[in-house]
Symmetry: C2
Amino acid sequence: MTHGEKNEAPMREVYLDYAAATPVDPEVAEAMLPYLTERFWNPSAPYARAREVRDDVERARGTVARLIGARPDCLTFTAGATEANNLAFAAVEGHVVVDAIEHESVLACAGTHARRTVRVGADGIVDAAAVARAIRPDTELVSVELANGEIGCVQPVREISRVVATERARRLEAGEDTPIYLHSDASQAAGALSVNVATLGVDLLTLSAAKIYGPKQVGVLWASEDVRLRPLVYGGGQEGGVRSGTENVAGVVGFARALELACERRGEEGRRLAGLRERLREGLLARVPSMVVTGPKSPKRRLPGLLHVSFAGVEARRLVIALERAGVSVGTGSACAASRMRVSHVLEAIGMPRELAEGSLRLTLGRGTTEEDVDYAVEAIADAVRAEMARVGTDAAAMAALAGGWGRR
Amino acid sequence: MTHGEKNEAPMREVYLDYAAATPVDPEVAEAMLPYLTERFWNPSAPYARAREVRDDVERARGTVARLIGARPDCLTFTAGATEANNLAFAAVEGHVVVDAIEHESVLACAGTHARRTVRVGADGIVDAAAVARAIRPDTELVSVELANGEIGCVQPVREISRVVATERARRLEAGEDTPIYLHSDASQAAGALSVNVATLGVDLLTLSAAKIYGPKQVGVLWASEDVRLRPLVYGGGQEGGVRSGTENVAGVVGFARALELACERRGEEGRRLAGLRERLREGLLARVPSMVVTGPKSPKRRLPGLLHVSFAGVEARRLVIALERAGVSVGTGSACAASRMRVSHVLEAIGMPRELAEGSLRLTLGRGTTEEDVDYAVEAIADAVRAEMARVGTDAAAMAALAGGWGRR
C-alpha cells in the first residue's frame, strides 16, 4: 500500500492536529452568524435592539459562568488565551512560580516578573511538593496549566491548590498581607476535562474557544472576586473596565455554545478519543517498535486525544512533508514554536534527548476523527518513518541508542 | 401620521447608528466563513494546508497594505481599534499631545503619559497651530483622529503632519534625538475618506473592521518602519512578535475584503450619503426649526453620513425610547459613553451648553439607508421631539434661550 505518491491525490485527508486548531462546530457557527449579519448592533448602544444584543452577551457570559461554576461578573472575555494569560499575570506585581512546560504566553509573562520555574519529570507532571518549595513569602501568583498541549499530561492542579491554600493560611497566621493566587491555563483541557473552578481550587482560569470547536481569538479569564485585575488596554470601559473595546458579540456567543457542547460531549467523546488514541498507539508500535511514546502512563493523567511519539534520528519536519503528501496533517509541537522549527521547550524541559526531540510528532485526535482515519494514519506514518529510516540508514538498534534510554523509563 | 403607538409594530425599521456598528457585508461574511469551517487550520502549523491559511493571512495583510499605501510588514492586526490605539501609545514613553475630542481609548492611553490636551473650537476642528504650540521638546507622540465619530468633523491631519515634520526637522538641526510621531485613529473615517498613510503624512494609523462592514474586534495598527512597537501581550510571537496569539484568520480576511469594498465604494457612496444627510437635515429643520446642527459647515470637513442634532431642554434618552417604538434606532454619542448615559466628553469639549448636549442625537447613515428611510425618520424624529416639547412645556423661544446662542454661531 503506497500513500500519496508524488502528483497523486492522497486517498484520504486525515487531520491529526486538533490541539493546534479545531474547526468551528456547525452549531457554533449557526449561533454566531446572526450576530455578524442581522443582529450586528453595538451592545453599548442605547436602543432596544442593541440592548437585546447586550443581553445576549450577558446570557453567553452566564452560560460560561455556569459551566465553570463561577459568577458571571467574574468573567472577562478576551481575544484568546494568550491575552487572558497576560491579564492574569498583570494582576500581580511580585514573584511568580510557573513550571517549565507552560505555554509560551505564560512563560513570556512570567519573564516580566521575578520568578521561580519548577522543573518537571520525564512525564511532564508538575510535583506539588516542588511547587511548595518554589513558593517564597513574596510569591503572588502560581501558574500551572490544567493540561499540556504538547505531551498531554494533566497536572495535579487540585493538589497544587492545596499547597497554595496552605501558604495562604500560613501568611494569615503570620499576619503577612501578600496575596497568593493560583492561575491555570485550561485552554487545552476544556474539551476533555472538567473546568469547574471550585473543584480545581483555582483563583484564575484561562479558557480558549479556538481549542473547543469555537472561533479563534476568543478567550476568557475567570478571576475570583478576591483578585483585582488590571487592564492591559484602556478605552470605553467594556468588560467591567478591565478590557475595553466593542465586544466580539458573535465570538462570545459562539464561545458559550462551544463550551456547552464540549461539556455535554466530554464524557462520551473522551472515551471515544481515548480508544482511538490506543488504536493509533498500538498500530504504530506494532509497525515501528522502536517508536517512543512520551507522556504519563496513567490514562487519568493524560489528555485522551493526544499521542506524542518520537523516532530517534528521523527528522520530524521531513515526516510532516511526507505525511502531507499522504493527506495526513500532524503537528510537531505547539504551533507557535513549530513554525520556527526549533526544538520545543517542553521536550527540552522533560529532558528528552535532542536526537529524539527532533524526531517527534504530536498526534491529536478530535470530533472528526474516525477509526478509518486512525488506520489510514497508522499506515501513512509507519510508511513515512520506515522510508526515512531507510534514507538515513538507521535501524531499531541505532534508534534505541540515540534515544539514550528515554523510551525504557 | 402616527409612529409606533404602544403595542403596535413600527411601520418601518430604520437604523441610523452606523457609526456605532455596521452589519457585516454579505461579501465579507462570504470571505470569512470558509476560515471558520473548512479552512480552520492554525496558520503557524507546519503542513501545507496550514501554510495556505498563513498565505491567506499574508495576502489579506498585503491587501490592507496596498489600500493604505503601506508595506505589509508594517501592519499589526489587533482585536480592534482600541487595542491598536493602545499599541500606538505603548510605542512611546515620553510626553504626548492629543486633542480633547479623541476617542475614549486615545484619551485613556494619553492619561498614562505626561500630556498636553489641545482644545478644539465649536465645530470640533483641531487647529494645527494649536498642536504646534502644544508640542514640547520631549513630545514623542501626537495623536489626532482622522474624523470624529460623534460630530463628524474631519481633522486637518495632513496639516498637522507638517507641524510634526517641522518639529522633527528642528530636532535634527539641534542635534536632539527624541523621536516624534504622528498617530491618527482613522476608524470612523475609513468608510468615507482616503486612508493613504503617505498622503496623510502619519507615522501610525489605526483602522477598525467593525466600522466598515467588517467583523467586530478586528483592527490594525500601521506603523512606519521608524517606529518600534512594544507588545502589550506576550506569547507565541505572532505578528512579528508585537502581538502574540493565534491569528484571527477569518477576521483578518474579512477585514481586507471590507476595506477593499470601502475603497471601491467610497466616492459614490460618500456622495449618496451626503445627499441623504442633507435630506435628513433639511427635513428635520423644516419641522423643528429650533433644532441645532453641530459640526463643521464645510462638507469637506465633515463625514458625509453623519448628522449631529440637538434639541435644547429635551432629554435625548427619552427621544431614543420614543424613536425605538417607531422603529428608528439612533445614537446619543459614542456607544461606550452612551451606555453610561452621561454627557459626552466631545460635546463638553466643544463647549456645548449642557441643556443642549443632553438633548443631542447622533444620526449616522450607511449602506442600507434609503431615501424612504430618511423620510420616515424625519417624521418619526420630528414627532418624538414635538411630543417631548409638549410634555415638558417648552417652545422654540425657550429652546433658543437654553441653547445659549450655540446654534447661531
